[in-house]
């Protein structure tokens, strides 16, 4: 079990028994990136760049939810289907933000959709579009979901690297960069909540730091510009590797919710995860909260009484959640 945690390139045959078709007969490389209780994450290719094709390989993330032998087959199928689809619908909904004709989003949002329309949906500016991975394909019966591969380190690693470097850097500049990163995290989580979704598992491992791209959706013809760009980025990275765009990944536990309670719990989970993963930086976490509050106040739904912004309400709720923990008491 333990050896599966490390990232490893395995020949397809070693993994065949775990992969659903058609991947069980694939000739492509699969690199096991992570294994959780529910799913396996591989880095492989999808749509373009087969090993037997001349075209350059395009990396993709393949999330597989293997069958659980101990679960009743009907229940197992239903759970797998529901989880694959829940994740994919959220990602596709965001990929259409500011592009899809209103009301046509595949992730039918039901009540929350109507509620949001009370205020002009300012959050529909499309900025969440680049903050989540794109869906490339899926099979809810086979139990797999293929998404675009997000380049760049996990925020967790970026902060670890920063901590290692911090002693050699001029103290003040380094801290400012870290604060900037934390503020970008808060802003994107606020944006997510304002769009009616809670992530469900916010940790610094589920946040990626993608290097800035000159042309976000550059096509092949402009590849040379991009190459130049990435070279200079790599050189810059030595002085400031906390630059980049925050991308949220792993929406396997996400849900459509506009409840302040759910939003506060989402933040609380991040706060606790951050505190235990980055104890030396924990004192800076209020930067996340402050940026979240601003972003939600700015773009979130209008609150009834209107004295407080949507962000203020969630942050107030967060204080309750801190007092009692993640689970709401069912007593009394």
């Amino acid at each position: 079990m333990a050896d599966l945690h490390r990232s490893s390139t395995a020949t397809p045959t070693e993994l065949h028994h775990q992969l659903p078709p058609p991947f069980d007969h694939s000739q492509e490389p699969f690199e096991l990136i992570a294994q959780g209780a529910e799913s396996l994450l591989f880095r492989t290719t999808f749509l373009t760049g087969s090993v037997s094709d001349g075209r350059p390989a395009v990396a993709a993330a393949l999330k597989v939810r293997p069958k659980k032998a101990w679960r009743h087959p009907t229940l197992d199928k239903r759970l797998t289907r529901a989880r694959i689809l829940a994740e994919a619908r959220v990602l596709v909904k965001f990929s259409g933000e500011g592009i899809a004709t209103a009301g046509s989003s595949s992730g039918r949002s039901g009540k929350s959709g109507r509620r949001d329309k009370v205020k002009a949906p300012k959050e529909n500016d499309g900025r969440l579009r680049d903050a989540v991975p794109n869906v490339l394909g899926l099979d809810w019966e086979g139990g797999w979901l293929a998404t675009e591969w997000i380049e760049g380190p996990m925020v967790k690693k970026a902060i670890y690297d920063y901590a290692k470097m911090a002693s050699t850097m001029s103290e003040e500049g380094g801290v400012q960069n870290l604060k900037g990163l934390l503020r970008r995290i808060g802003a994107v989580v606020g944006r997510l909540h304002a769009a009616g979704v809670v992530h469900g598992d916010l940790t610094t491992s589920n946040l990626m730091l993608r290097p800035h791209r000159h042309h976000p959706k550059a096509v092949g013809s402009r590849a040379s510009d991009d190459d130049d760009g990435s070279v200079s980025k790599v050189q810059e990275a030595g002085t400031d590797n906390l630059q980049g765009e925050i991308v949220l990944i792993d929406f396997g536990l996400s849900s459509q919710s506009i409840s302040d309670e759910d939003r506060a719990v989402d933040l609380y989970v991040l706060e606790r995860a951050f505190g235990s993963t980055h104890p030396r930086e924990e004192h800076l976490f209020p930067e996340v909260i402050a940026a979240y509050q601003e972003s939600m106040n700015d773009i979130g739904p209008v609150v009834k009484g209107a004295k407080l912004g949507a962000g203020d309400v969630v942050v107030r709720k967060l204080e309750d959640v801190r007092m009692r923990g993640r689970k709401k008491s069912m007593i009394g």
Partner: protein, 177 residues
């Protein structure tokens, strides 16, 4: 060779043969062959005016072949299933009208799923013999020249076609869920 043979990752036994034709002049003949079920014309004939990109086409092919392998195709064969896979909804005849060859098709992408008894050379010869149009490279740039933005916006329910590829691929992948 003007025809491109594409190997989809993970589906190396089901290579794709593709030719993009510009200025098609015998659309009704081709349509007629499909309607009559002429078995010499086992192709996916796609109307290039509703195509975004290679990735969109390859995603449709991947889904169609995967659904064929899993024995859950909604249409007659893998080629009609490719046409259907491009659609964001479950209406099969509508998907043929929108994405398949019609009387008004100007530019045409012909795709054949390989692995059968015919080799690439025979497929190319047959296509070039029966499709009256100018073969051009199957590239994103060519597709961009051929597309009809108003139609694309309509069939995929978009306000804008800029940067919409990810949403289009996602809608195709979620279809039928």
């Amino acid at each position: 060779m003007i025809m491109e043979t594409i190997t989809l990752p993970h589906l190396h036994q089901h290579s794709l043969h593709a030719i993009l034709f510009q200025n098609l002049s015998n659309a009704s003949f081709l349509r007629q062959q499909l309607l009559e079920g002429n078995t010499d014309f086992e192709y996916a004939f796609l109307d290039a005016s509703v195509l975004f990109s290679r990735s969109q086409v390859l995603a449709a092919c991947f889904r169609a072949i995967n659904d064929q392998l899993q024995r859950r195709m909604k249409s007659k064969n893998v080629h009609s299933e490719i046409v259907f896979s491009l659609s964001p909804n479950n209406n099969i005849s509508e998907s043929f009208r929108r994405f398949g060859v019609s009387e008004t098709t100007k530019d045409l992408l012909a795709i054949k799923v390989g692995g059968g008894e015919l080799g690439p050379t025979q497929v190319e010869q047959h296509l070039r013999q029966h499709v009256e149009g100018t073969p051009v490279p199957f590239t994103d740039d060519k597709l961009a020249e051929m597309r009809d933005e108003a139609r694309l916006r309509k069939v995929y329910k978009l306000d804008s076609v800029d940067d919409a590829e990810a949403y289009v691929l996602g809608s195709m992948a979620l279809k039928g869920s």
